[in-house]
Structure formats: C-alpha cells, structure tokens
C-alpha cells in the first residue's frame, strides 16, 4: 500500500511535469498576448518594454525555465489581465465551481443509481422504459439548450428560481459558499440540475446494465436458492459488484465536470473557473491558462488515485501496487 502511494506520487509528478511542457508550448503557439493586450496606438518603445517586462523576448526554453524556477518558489505568476496572483485568482473562483459540481454529482447519484437499479431489476416494466427514455434525453440533448429551457420555465415563466449568479454567500469551513444560505441554494439548484443531467443519464445506464447482468449470475441464483429476499440480494450482493464500474466512470466524470463545467457556468452566469479559463483564452492570459490546466491535471491525478483506492476496497481481487 505504501509502495503504491509512493509510485503513484512519482507518476503524478512526471505527469504534471510533462503536462506543463505541453501546455507551455501549446499556449505559446496560440499567439502573442502582447498583440491582444496592448493599445494598437502604443509606441514601439512601450511595446518593447512590456515584452521585456513579461519576459516574452526570451526564447521559449528560457521562459519555461524561469517559469519552473518561479513555481519552485510557489509562484505561478501574475495574470496579465487582472494583474493579480494567478493562484489567488483561480482559487477565488474554484469554490463556486466546486459547490456547483458537488451538488450536480449529488443529484445525479441520488436519482441516477436508484433509477438504474430499478430499471435493471424490472427491465420490462413501464417505469423502467420511461427511465431509459429519459436517460437517453439526458445525455443526447445539448446542455446549453436544456439550460436555457430551464431558465425559460423556472425563471422567466414561473418565476420560482433566479436565472443566474451565485446569490448570497455564507461561509462554511472558512470558504465562501452559496450552500450556506437558502438564497444561495435557490441559485445553485437549477444550474446543478442542468449539469447533472448528462451524468445522471450515464449513471442510470451503467447501473442498469450492471444490474441486468448481475441478476443473471450464478451467485444471485445461489442467493435466491438460500431464500434471501430480493431486497437483500440487490443491496448486499449486487450493489457492491456493480459499484465497481460505476465508481470508475464516476471518478472520470467528476474530474471532467470540475474541469469543464464551463457551458453551464456560461448559461447561468456562474462565476466559476470555467468562465475564467474561457476569458483567459480569449485574452491569451498565459499564466492563468497554464495554472488552470496544471490544476486540472492535479485534480485528475487525485481523483484517479482515489478511484484506485476505492476500487481496491470494493473488489478484493484487485491488489494495489501490482505485487502478487
């Protein structure tokens, strides 16, 4: 177990390192931020000074090395647009995305898994067919469109929920969050639902497929032959088996939702990191892009690591670290 953690940590460092190079080169290739930032009427002298200030006159490898040196001192740079520390900038936006994603994932799990279990347990029932039809809608209809429909219905026509923004913030564990106030909840619920639909559809289908398959297995027949009631068979025998693939996909989805909640954030004007990254791409704000993408990589590494641990907890046949 300890060896597993160490080797995973080393892998993570290599991945982050490789990623930083790719991002750096990629961002360099997009274009020169000076062209976007500077007033076209500025003199060549001003332009030169600005370029020198950001170190953009240096060759790429030089820029990268000085970036690394700064990172080693815990400094990821300053935003060219906001002129504040990027870490501060990203972390000021992160709680908004986190709370949105957590609520979305919670909705998807609480509805998706029971619905999938039911649809797999009674695959021929009308309810199961309705659930499956809805799950197809969930992951085939574009998010932004459903988002706009939700706003039309609940904000414009019915007037029950606000159409965007984060609402009142409270503090929870020292972090400002909408989840601490009722008004904040009324703001978060609709975008979270919107964001959850795709994941819900996915979870329903995964759970259902696992359930249908598991109900045909010999261990379920054997459990039946022992006189176990179906409730116990489903929750004690089957659920644990099907949670193995579900956890895997769930982890990947959690990562990609955190990283790319941007569509929902735009539709609901949610001030999260997704909006920040889109803005920084438009303005070629390099330090923000680099920091954000590296953060995403670290996030994925952490999630994959957690998934592996949970996986090994769920399936005794899996041994961590590859040692037999």
């Amino acid at each position: 177990m300890f060896g597993f953690i160490i080797s995973r940590l080393l892998q993570a460092i290599v991945v982050v390192f490789a990623m930083s190079i790719i991002v750096f080169v990629g961002v360099y290739a997009i274009g020169n931020p000076i062209d976007v930032m500077i007033d076209p009427a500025a003199t060549a002298e001003m332009r030169e000074r600005l370029i020198a200030q950001y170190g953009l006159d240096q060759p790429l490898w030089r820029q990268y090395l000085s970036f690394l040196a700064n990172v080693a001192q815990g400094d990821l740079g300053r935003s060219m647009v906001y002129n504040t520390s990027v870490t501060g900038l990203v972390f000021s936006r992160l709680p908004a995305t986190l709370e949105l994603v957590l609520v979305a994932i919670a909705i998807a799990t609480v509805i998706g898994i029971p619905a999938g279990l039911y649809a797999g347990y009674r695959p021929k029932s009308l309810g199961a067919k309705a659930i499956m039809a809805l799950s197809i809608l969930g992951f085939s209809v574009p998010t932004f469109w459903i988002g706009m429909l939700l706003i039309m219905a609940f904000a414009v026509e019915l007037g029950w929920l606000p159409s965007g923004g984060r609402g009142d913030l409270g503090t929870f564990l020292g972090m400002p969050t909408s989840l601490a106030t009722a008004n904040g909840w009324s703001h978060v619920i609709m975008p979270a639902l919107n964001l959850s639909l795709f994941k819900m559809g996915l979870l329903i289908r995964l759970t259902r497929a696992g359930m249908v398959e598991a109900m045909q297995t010999d261990y379920v027949k054997f459990a039946r032959a022992q006189g176990l009631p179906d409730r116990q068979i489903v929750f004690r025998h089957v659920l644990r088996n099907i949670s193995i693939p579900v956890v895997t996909v769930f982890g990947l989805e959690l990562g990609s939702t955190l990283a790319f909640a941007v569509v929902t954030e735009s539709v609901f004007n949610w001030p999260g990191v997704g909006k920040l990254i889109i803005d920084s791409i438009l303005t070629l704000d390099r330090p923000v892009m680099v920091t954000y993408l590296i953060l995403v990589v670290i996030l994925f590494v952490i999630i994959n690591f957690t998934v592996d641990i949970v996986y090994a907890r769920l399936d005794p046949r899996v041994r961590l670290g590859g040692t037999k």
Partner: protein, 321 residues
C-alpha cells in the same frame, strides 16, 4: 414413510416466440431421506429446469404449469411467494455447477454464509459466523475459522464447491438439489466431493437430487437413477438396475458411449443424431428418430412398462439379459 421430496406430474413450460415449449413434461419421482437420486440426461433434456422448478425459481418466460412438489408433506406449489422463499434454504436448497461463479466475488465467505443463516434464523452475527464455521468443518474444510475471512478467489475450485455445499447445508434442509456440482472440477477433487456428499447424505439424512450428464458419477454415487430425455423421464430404477440392466434404448446408448469399458482403439459407439429441439419433437416417443428399435407403433405415446420398481417409457423395452 413419506418421502423427503415427492415430485408429481411436474410440468414446466416456456412461452417463446416460436410457441410454447414444454421443458419439463409430466415428471414424477420421489427421494427418501438419506438417499441420493441421480437425475441423468444430456444438455437440454430439462434436468436443470426440473431443479429450478422444484425450488420455484423459474423465471419469465417460463412457468411451472402443472404438478405438485411435496417436501415433507408440504406442497411447495401451493405456497405464497413469501412462504416459498422461507422454504428455500431452510427445507430445500440448491448447489450449482460452477463453483467459481456461485459465490459472490466481493464478499467474504463468512459474510455470505452468515447472511444465509440469519435470513431464516435471526441471531447475532457472531453466532451466525460460528454456525457457518461449524458447517465448513462438516464438509471437510481445514481451518474453517480462517476461511470465514477469506474471499472466494482465495480458495481453490474444490474448496469453493465445499463452501457452497456447506452453505446449502446450513439449515439442515430435507432436500438438496445439486446441479452438476462436480462437472467443473478436476477428477481427483470430484472424487473427494462425491465421497463427502455420500457421507453427508448418510449422516445428515438429507435427500439429494444429483443432476448430471455423467453416468460414471451417478453409478458410483446414487441410490436411484432417473434418466431424462426431451423433458420426460424415460427410465427409472435403482442405480444397479439402470446401470446394470438398462431397459430404455436411450439409456443403453448413453451407457455404450461411456469410454473406458471398450477395447482401446476401438471406435466408440454413438447415439446417432442429436437431441431434438423441444419445439420440434416428433409425435409419440421423442427418441424414436434416433432409436435402433423403433417401429410404426412408436409414433404413438409410449407407456411406462415396469418390472418391479424398474420402469421405462418405451414400446420396445430391452429385455432383462
């Protein structure tokens, strides 16, 4: 003395797109306490479906359409689903073919067995585990205490099958249906399990229905034998009678195709043709298209002809040699 298991005119049908198929056709047999009955047949002969029908575990589109399943004077078919469930595992139990698949891979042996104990006898888990441990000891598993904490993949196939048998034995049921439980095992392990099952039947006075396609296995294990063909029992008698003096041509054919009793290098006799599809059975005797003794009369339904307790469903039974 009433039989532990008395199956009368059991009929199970499957409603398929091609029409209704009768997988178990008017099957009757009984097994007394402590006896082992071998239910022999090829794949698709309906022997496993018979087992599942007895336990009331036939799933859609199948249904048990007729007959009685008497376990110690209770007709299982007359029970409500909930009462039927309470009989399973307690009065009648089942063991399956593939020991790799019958245990849940993600639960500890002890947890699975404790669950099976407590579903019928509510008790603290610690006590249920003790009972599971004792059951493991009874089926000859060394250091049962440690095995309780093991996961199925940590045990060998033979060990797992013993665990399955121990689980089936937890409530000392009157009847255990064993569906080819040694087919997936090595021959040496198979022998051990057979000896163990024989001993358990004698000691616990459990009636065992041993479903198999392997005549060699039943001839050494069973007290009585029923031979199934196309959903029907075509011959029944004591193991000695059926193996020693088969009266149905099908049984004769099966016995002749067992390797080992022929000259080395000689061509193995075979039954011509293959098992008929249940949806396209010939009229009258289902075996007549493959039978060397068939005549015109075989197109009509054959009668059961008996000598003592040994009977065959045939117009032209083989004479005692």
């Amino acid at each position: 003395m009433t039989a532990a298991l008395d199956v009368q005119r059991l009929t199970t049908r499957f409603d398929t797109r091609a029409g209704t198929v009768t997988a178990v056709d008017d099957v009757s047999f009984s097994v007394h306490r402590g006896r082992i009955m071998g239910l022999v047949g090829e794949s698709g002969s309906g022997k496993s479906v018979t087992g599942f029908s007895i336990l009331g575990l036939i799933e859609e589109p199948g249904r048990v359409s007729d007959g009685k399943v008497m376990v110690e004077d209770t007709d299982l078919r007359s029970l409500s689903p909930e009462r039927m469930r309470s009989m399973r595992g307690r009065k009648v139990s089942m063991v399956f073919q593939d020991p790799m698949m019958t245990l849940n891979p993600v639960l500890r042996i002890g947890d699975q067995m404790a669950m099976a104990v407590r579903v019928h006898d509510p008790m603290p888990k610690a006590r249920a585990l003790e009972r599971a441990r004792d059951a493991l000891g009874i089926v000859g598993i060394p250091s049962p205490e440690e095995r309780l904490a093991a996961y199925p993949h940590q045990l060998s196939g033979g060990m797992r099958q013993r665990v399955a048998i121990a689980t089936a034995l937890l409530h000392r049921p009157a009847v255990i249906i064993a569906d080819e439980p040694t087919t997936a095992l090595d021959v040496s392990i198979q022998g051990q399990i057979l000896a163990e099952v024989r001993r358990l039947a004698d000691e616990t006075q459990t009636a065992i229905v041993w479903i198999t396609h392997d005549l060699a296995v039943v001839s050494s294990l069973a007290d009585d034998i029923c031979v199934m063909y196309a959903g029907k029992i075509v011959e029944r008698g004591t193991a000695e009678e059926v193996i020693g003096q088969p009266r149905h041509p099908y049984t004769r054919g099966l016995l002749d195709s067992v390797p080992g009793q022929h000259e080395p290098g000689a061509r193995l006799p075979q039954i011509p043709g293959s098992t008929p599809q249940l949806s396209h059975l010939p009229s009258g005797c289902p075996f007549r298209n493959r039978c060397p003794r068939a005549t015109q009369i075989c197109a009509t339904v054959p009668p059961f002809t008996s000598i003592g307790g040994h009977s065959a469903l045939c117009h032209h039974p083989l004479e005692a040699a």
